[in-house]
């Protein structure tokens, strides 16, 4: 192989531009769609790779009243960033750091009696107001959440702890499988049964929540008191039969990089040059997409032919469109602007748009557009 021409730039230039206006727009769209139900924006996994604190603030500006995360470390990150609005975290070890959670005013999603006992113990140690708990019911997904046979015992224990001032049950929630409408309807019915059983035990949960983006869009009956919006807040579609534009959503992330070196192409059809882009699978670019996805430069489209650990190789698809050192290329963004979308990358890599944006690594700088 011939050595490439060497670039003169001091450092490779890759940026994930996050359009916070798009986040505000998307969240506002769900606020309007939800017709009175509150909107919780889900910012777990560093806001699906977009940056948790920045997205959280934009989501609140867009009308969200709640933020949702998986684990407590993610909740603490929001508090450390100075965000004081309600936060719910729902994935815990049985003896997680609940005392710190209560001091930080985090609402806790709880799946079993052991967690309730740990939280009650933490509340007594910390003192102050009762712990705010959302009981999570497994209505069919088979992940966390209390199984139906446990509901009675869980509600009775929760009520006993309410009466002794240790906690209050602010919500009851579950998560859909999105297997099909019948399954989702069955899960909704089980949640209603659960809430009724809880009421009979004396609980008065103010927030019943079930729907995430897909159900919030498609199944109005699942919206209840609050919808949990993750992927939709980032402007991406969870549905197979509708894209962002169909749903009136704006993709928030645009991933750009720079051609840092050029080399003779391996393709002998025309005297082309291939370009080196300093983003690789170590940054979260899926190698499975090679040969099946384009990036866009000012002069046209370039085929991604190879993805290595810290770079990828692009080649022109037509004569006269050679990449040049210093050219800016867009890997994905809003497809209405003529670039590949996260959906395109997902199709090319046989996965879903969630994974494309979420796995983008920390070494790619995020740049926020207010």
């Amino acid at each position: 192989m011939t050595a490439p021409e060497i670039g003169t730039a001091a450092a490779p230039d890759s940026v994930a531009a996050i359009d916070l206006g798009a986040v505000r727009h998307n969240v506002a769209r769900f606020v309007s769609l939800a017709e009175g139900a509150q909107v919780m924006t889900v910012v777990k996994a560093n806001a699906y790779g977009h940056g948790a604190a920045q997205v959280a603030r934009a989501a609140l500006d867009g009308g969200a009243t709640w933020l949702g995360v998986a684990d407590l470390s993610e909740a603490f990150e929001l508090r450390h960033a100075g965000i004081t609005q309600p936060v719910l975290a729902w994935l815990h070890e049985s003896h997680d750091n609940f005392a710190a959670a209560l001091e930080a005013g985090i609402d806790l999603g709880v799946s079993d009696l052991g967690q309730l006992a740990s939280i009650a113990q933490a509340q007594q140690a910390v003192g102050g107001v009762p712990a705010a708990v959302h009981l999570k019911l497994d209505t069919g997904l088979g992940r966390n959440g209390a199984g139906e046979s446990q509901w009675g015992a869980l509600f009775d224990d929760a009520r006993r702890r309410e009466l002794s001032g240790q906690l209050i049950i602010r919500g009851i929630f579950s998560h859909l499988s999105n297997a099909d409408d019948d399954e989702d309807a069955r899960q909704l019915e089980r949640l209603h049964v659960g809430v009724e059983t809880a009421r009979q035990a004396g609980l008065r949960p103010r927030l019943r929540h079930l729907a995430s983006t897909a159900a919030a869009l498609r199944l109005p009956a699942t919206r209840l008191d609050l919808v949990r919006i993750g992927i939709g807040a980032y402007g991406l579609s969870p549905l197979d039969d509708a894209d962002s534009a169909d749903l009136g959503l704006h993709p928030a992330m645009t991933l750009r990089s720079t051609i840092v070196a050029v080399a003779p192409s391996s393709d002998a059809d025309f005297a082309a040059r291939s370009g080196i882009v300093p983003l690789g699978y170590g940054d979260g670019i899926p190698p499975q997409a090679a040969g099946r996805i384009h990036v866009t430069g000012s002069y046209g489209r370039l085929l991604v032919t190879r993805v290595e650990s810290d770079h990828l190789v692009v080649e022109p698809v037509s004569a006269g469109a050679d990449p040049a050192r210093g050219d800016i290329v867009t890997l994905f963004g809003d497809p209405t602007e003529g670039v590949s979308s996260a959906d395109d990358w997902a199709r090319a890599a046989d996965t879903i748009n969630y994974e494309i944006v979420t796995r983008l690594g920390d070494r790619v700088a995020r740049e926020y557009i207010a």
């Binding site: 192989m1 011939t2 050595a3 490439p4 060497i6 670039g7 730039a9 001091a10 450092a11 490779p12 777990k44 996994a45 560093n46 699906y48 998986a70 684990d71 470390s73 994935l91 815990h92 070890e93 049985s94 750091n97 799946s111 052991g114 497994d138 069919g140 997904l141 088979g142 992940r143 966390n144 199984g147 499988s177 999105n178 297997a179 399954e183 840092v260 070196a261 080399a263 080196i276 300093p278 690789g280 699978y281 170590g282 940054d283 190698p287 499975q288 290595e308 650990s309 810290d310 770079h311 890599a349 046989d350 996965t351 879903i352 969630y354 994974e355 979420t358 796995r359 690594g361 070494r363």
Partner: protein, 258 residues
Amino acid sequence: MSELDDTVDPTSLGRDAAIDLGAFRANVSILAARAVGGPLVIDMTADAYGHGLVRLARVAAESGADILSVRDEGDARSIADAGIGIDVRWWHTERFSIPPAGSGIAAFGFGMELTDGAPAGVVPVMTVSAPVLSVKRVPEGHGVSYGFVYRATKETTLALVPLGYADGIPRAATGSGRMAIHGRPYPIAGRIAMDQVVLDVGDAPVAPGDRAVAFGPGLEGEPTAAGWARDSGSTAGEILARIGRRVPRRYIDQEAAR
């Protein structure tokens, strides 16, 4: 140099990537012994394939590596700032051709041919694990995770493990990926989600707090990164490099402990 870590960081749900510096040292020594007549170049791109650049650069320099190939000038500066004296090359280094070929990822325990073919004696350096958060007994036919692509074929126990594709577990391994508990591998039931997977552990006496090992050296029943690569149409290098920020790296030295 900072000390080794005995205990798992509790702040990230007990997710853990244990990096065995002794194994890495031994691997580099094996490669150095084989690299007669030429410099030993170790590929340290992608944050040393997710292992942590500076910690491993020091061990590599002490164990017979001649040149480290890194991503960029920033990587080179990190190594120099840590006081590690070794020749470092990257994209903009004069006459350094694409790709920085030849080293493969044998130093991390895997072969040049992606899923196999590591030189004799090298062993995987990284072990990724997390505790079981909860277990649940479900009846035959119970669906698990999105789309219910998995249903229990008999009454069984499901164990929830907080490792998902945001942590680098490839979603493409849905239907084939496994994790081991007490040395026995169990299938992942249903779709791999962003933050979690569910293991079908049958009638095994698995309890919350038991550790589920996603991959490791493969010597005690656990899968390897090469196995995950086969299960997801990927490479061992990608599996290692994509382990995410929610999985704290912890440095151990099994050799020194012996």
